[in-house]
Chain length 205, copies 2
């Protein structure tokens, strides 16, 4: 039997560029991992395809799934639900394929509780020191606004401690390459290959 | 102050191609890690350079260093000592640079005891199943010889459990690339970056 796949969770502050990096990871590459498609109750936009961009569901269907504990994580943004269907994730992992999630930080914390063995990657804004002084020195914003923005940035950064890896999004190409390397390296860990080697050793003895 | 560098230990069965892979890792690449030059009591061969290929020392000098606990690991092969000078390793790590060791399996186990925080990479022979049948089916060797070779191969493979990563040496290029990726990914671990982020957060608060 093949080993179970890895669950890879990419997350980070809103606006950091998670979606762009995720697309770059999947573009022009044959991957041994599948992107987990989210489920949502928001209206389908022009050009969006069911089962490709999202699984589009009604509010009633979504809430039924919540009750059945059928979601790995979910959240409500501006009146719409967004979530990760548990069934798809588990089926893919059982087939020995990795599953790639790209979700908001709150969702990532919920996944950490349910699946602590997953690999958690935090995408961090580049040039944090610069960002810091830029927020402070921006003359057009009120003191109140600056304070609020700083507080949110700090709160999000503090979540890094719950992650396994931190990747700075300096350029999309760099960040995507680093994330691909992390996934490859995780597969080379002895703990994930011991069973295979034990089998070979047994045959040789 | 800069963080301490990582100690990376590449090891594996004799004859697996450690030296070739190590050379490929260092060739044509600007690395943030230094190769740790071994110390030996064997005679300098033509073309070898002191401080480049080895530190060449007399038996007396080497044994003095053993007494002073100045070696991270050492061994005696066919009458000559080979070892890793502790001082060079620690000085380089303290400067925030990584140190790369390529050593025999017995030496690697000793380093694991002295520096458990190091990253241990096992270079594994390719096509183990094939190797297995090749050893068994090789008609020219006596049963005694086959048994002996198998026993050694199995003993060496069993050491994988003491390592962090296992890399198959299918091609030199592949193995070198994977090892470089492992080192890069290790640097992206949150545990190694938490101090830096804590500092930025403190400034922002």
């Amino acid at each position: 039997m093949e080993d179970r796949g890895l669950l890879i969770v990419l997350s980070g502050p809103s606006g950091v560029g998670k979606g762009t990096v995720r697309k770059a990871i999947f573009e022009n590459h044959s991957n041994n991992f599948d992107y987990s498609i989210s489920m949502t109750t928001r209206k389908k936009r022009e050009g969006e395809v069911e089962g490709v961009d999202y699984f589009f569901r009604t509010k009633e269907e979504f809430e039924k799934l919540i009750e059945e504990d059928g979601l790995l994580e979910y959240a409500n943004y501006v009146g719409n639900y967004y979530g990760t269907p548990m069934k798809y994730v588990n089926q893919t992992l059982d087939q020995g394929r990795d599953v790639f999630l790209e979700i908001e930080v709150q969702g990532a914390l919920k996944v950490r509780e349910k699946m602590p063995e997953a690999i958690f990657i935090f995408l961090s804004p580049p040039n944090l020191e610069e960002l810091n002084s830029r927020i402070v020195n921006r003359g057009t914003d009120s003191d109140e606004m600056i304070k609020k923005r700083m507080k949110k940035a700090v709160e999000e950064l503090k979540l890094i401690q719950y992650y396994d890896y931190v990747v700075e999004n300096d350029t999309v190409e760099n960040a995507a390459r680093k994330i691909r390397n992390i996934i490859e390296s995780e597969h080379l860990k002895v703990t994930r290959n011991l069973k295979e080697y034990a089998h070979i050793i047994e045959e040789m003895e």
